[in-house]
């Protein structure tokens, strides 16, 4: 029974001639003695033959055409993902440019704000505000809230310290 079980697992490969010569001989001699395995082998052989009889399915007439359309769509999609005009940009240069832009955007308002405060403290907040308001009539981007801040800051400085720094 045990041998029969082992052999029955090899019947499929036996049928295909995919066993070593010793194994082939082994199975053959078992088949001489075992009617069950012979029957089994015949059933597998008939099944294999049935599969071999299948006609290949006809290739759809528009297969190549459909494939070509698909390739074209794929090429377009990939082009959209990587625009050619950006490709020559060296990466380090782009990074450096971004960093420089960030520095400018942060330092310019900070320095300008400080200068405005110094000036306001120097000329007096009221006078500074007057001049700034006049300038604002011509400058649509003047920030009024910022002006208020500058005025307050300047008043505090006037009270607390000499805005031109300690007297030497």
């Amino acid at each position: 029974m045990n041998a029969s079980h082992r052999i029955s697992r090899q019947l499929s490969a036996y049928l295909d001639g995919e066993l070593s010569p010793e194994e082939m001989a082994d199975v053959r001699s078992h088949l001489d003695r075992c009617a069950d395995c012979r029957e089994d082998l015949e059933a597998i052989r008939a099944t294999k033959r049935l599969l071999g009889r299948l006609e290949p399915p006809p290739l759809p007439a528009d297969f190549a055409e459909g494939l070509r359309a698909r390739l074209a769509r794929d090429a377009l999609r990939r082009l959209a993902w990587a625009p050619a005009r950006w490709q020559w940009w060296p990466r380090p240069a782009a990074v450096l440019l971004a960093a420089a832009l960030a520095v400018v955007l942060i330092t310019v308002p900070a320095v300008r704000g400080h200068l405005d405060r110094l000036r306001a403290a120097e000329v007096g907040p009221d006078l500074f505000l007057q001049a700034a308001t006049q300038a604002a009539a011509e400058d649509p981007f003047m920030d009024r809230a910022f002006l208020g801040l500058v005025r307050t800051d300047a008043s505090i400085r006037l009270v607390g310290e000499d805005p031109r720094g300690p007297v030497r």
Partner: protein
């Protein structure tokens, strides 16, 4: 100064020709395998075309000496697994595939403009029954049966194509045929009778 080699046109024309050649040579095979794996025309077409698309994308990275057949079948096999994963629980019914109903199978009839109607019907029915039996197998078992019994490849070739040991091919084939033998018993009997 030595004459310079004429500059070869870069890639495309050559690659296109090579690819067209591949399509002409392998379409039928790749489609046939995709059809046996999916059991319906729409999925088979989709799978086979996608396989060619993958090959096209990788064509410039392939060593010209590589045997492409195995590669194709491996792609088809992987794509099929992807397809099953995407569609877990969804069954696709082909128009001429019998649908299980409470009282036996429902079959949609389709007129066929063929001359030898009787033979065609017989063959079509046989094909459908065998295909149904194939669909009852797990995908990895089905692939091995398709490559061995329908396409006629040797175990070693199948092992290379699928990237599995030869022992795995052997045992899968054994299990697959056992199931098919049982499922197709009535078909075999009906073929013996007349």
């Amino acid at each position: 100064m030595a004459p310079r080699e004429p500059k070869r046109p870069e890639g495309p024309p050559d690659a296109h020709a090579q690819f067209e050649d591949l399509v002409a040579r392998y379409s039928r095979h790749v489609y046939a395998i995709a059809y046996r794996m999916t059991g319906n025309e729409a999925d088979a077409r989709d799978l086979a075309q996608e396989a060619f698309l993958r090959v096209w994308r990788a064509l410039d990275r392939v060593d010209p000496g590589t045997r492409l057949e195995g590669w194709f079948y491996r792609i088809v096999s992987n794509l099929h697994i992807d397809l099953l994963r995407r569609r877990r629980g969804v069954r696709v019914h082909s128009l001429d595939e019998p649908m299980a109903a409470s009282s036996g199978d429902l079959v949609r009839e389709r007129p066929d403009a063929s001359v030898d109607v009787e033979r065609t019907v017989l063959e079509a029915t046989l094909d459908r029954r065998v295909q149904n039996a194939l669909m009852s197998l797990a995908p990895d078992l089905r692939m091995v049966v398709v490559l061995s019994d329908i396409e006629g490849y040797a175990y070693e070739e199948i092992a290379t194509m699928l990237g599995v040991p030869i022992g795995t091919v052997k045992s899968r084939l054994h299990r697959a045929r056992r199931t098919l033998r049982d499922r197709l018993a009535s078909v075999r009997a009906s073929l013996r009778e007349p």
